[in-house]
Symmetry: C2
Subunit: 262 residues, 2 copies
């Protein structure tokens, strides 16, 4: 049996959306691994750790469908189409997506497309970087006395503007997590400055959970410079809120602001 040929035995078409987690290959769920073990085809994204392909059978078809800036060869429409075509021709398609399928993952659009073609589809949640990446740095998204909630916002809206939600978020005490927003960090910090939150702690973490992880810890007034110094670029997440003050690298910053306050 060749990897690029369907089996002769007719298999039932089905699709499983699986969340691959933030990057570390061991941060996939047991259920996700079991789905991969029965995959005839795996369609995987740019942010998925390729080591996870080892969970799938050696003869499963593995197709990279990552969307990267400047590479529009795989639009969402073409992914939807590929997913359905492979299911009808090969059987079980595992659609392996970075993080959780529903956190800015367009997972529902894929479910919807499967339903349009009467192909049964199920979902296996993944570890979302929005919670796990700060957590692995021992930054809790919630903590008694510091934060009663966390608000996860995209930095990249459909129309390219900053989400209105971020302007509202800056007025609250919630921990704010911004995904896909590091290229707009200067604009984002400006929103918080307008609210007078110059000293609010901020963390920016690139490649969280992997060996290439980079961390910048600062405050609204200083984080842009620190991120430039550390040459942090996307994919990175931004965490804004008092909970960031619990990170060990924040201690000298705290002392600076305490002195400044007199």
């Amino acid at each position: 049996m060749k990897a690029d040929k369907p089996q002769n035995i007719a298999k039932e078409a089905r699709i499983t959306l699986v969340g691959a987690g933030p990057g570390d290959a061991e941060l996939i769920t047991l259920k996700g691994i079991k789905a991969l073990q029965t995959a005839d085809v795996v369609l995987y994204d740019a942010l998925v750790n390729e080591e996870m392909m080892d969970f799938a059978p050696a003869n499963a078809v593995k197709v990279y469908v990552g969307k990267r800036s400047g590479d529009h060869s795989h639009s969402q429409e073409s992914i939807n189409k590929l997913m359905v075509d492979y299911a009808l021709n090969y059987g079980h398609v595992v659609r392996l997506k970075g993080g959780d399928p529903f956190v800015f993952g367009r997972g529902y659009e894929e479910l919807d497309h499967a339903a349009l073609h009467n192909i049964p589809a199920t979902v296996i949640p993944g570890i979302s970087s929005s919670i796990a990446v700060p957590g692995l740095q021992h930054i809790p998204v919630t903590h008694r006395g510091l934060s009663e909630s966390f608000w996860v916002v995209t930095g990249t809206t459909t129309d390219g503007k900053i989400s209105d939600d971020l302007y509202k978020a800056a007025k609250t005490n919630a921990t704010i997590v911004v995904l896909m927003g590091v290229h707009k960090l200067a604009q984002i910090t400006k929103i918080f400055k307008t609210e007078g939150k110059h000293a609010l702690p901020v963390a920016v973490i690139q490649n969280g959970s992997t060996e290439n992880e980079k961390v910048a810890i600062g405050a609204i007034d200083t984080i842009v410079e620190i991120v430039e110094e550390k040459q942090i670029t996307s994919p990175a997440i931004i965490i804004i809120g008092e909970v960031v003050s619990l990170h060990p690298l924040y201690q000298p910053i705290k002392e600076f602001y305490d002195v400044a306050k007199g």
Copy 2:
């Protein structure tokens, strides 16, 4: 070797906080399973699926430290103390917590207590019910055109009041996820009514991801009654926002409101 006796070989004290996910025993990560496989002691919470104990060695000590209403035998302080005592006497303690350790899990307090006693501690993220429980019902917390963000709020603050964040959340277009709030559902819907959001879709899901799952789908004006009819109680999560309209059970409700609007 008895389960209730420490080994004679001195083991290095260490603590691993592991997120057990929303309930389904297969929604733990591979990394979490590997931690359990090397556990000398497992301290586990009320919402942890006990099937996960099978991942730990048969001779590991397994201690239930769940906090349930009316049962204050295990305060956070006593859990912290147990965790450290077991680590010093037995070696590797896995602290297995429902969901993710940092989503209203008091995980940081446990890390902090370990640090106070110079015991190395690491964190393994878990699948948070805040994202996964709606997701398993095919309700995406974000969806193009419906929601650019999601805001996760506790329904049970330290002082027993509704969090101020929920009043602010009701003024936004974010998907709102309320954890531990089903006993305050009437009060919570009142906040949204004050904002004129009577027809905003709401889902309440009890025991998400398990075979005892119960789902109520309605709108701000009707959800309290539906939850009573379906006898849904805690542990349950509340999802408020336009994304709930994507659930199949919402279709007849949509038709009702469309007729009402004329």
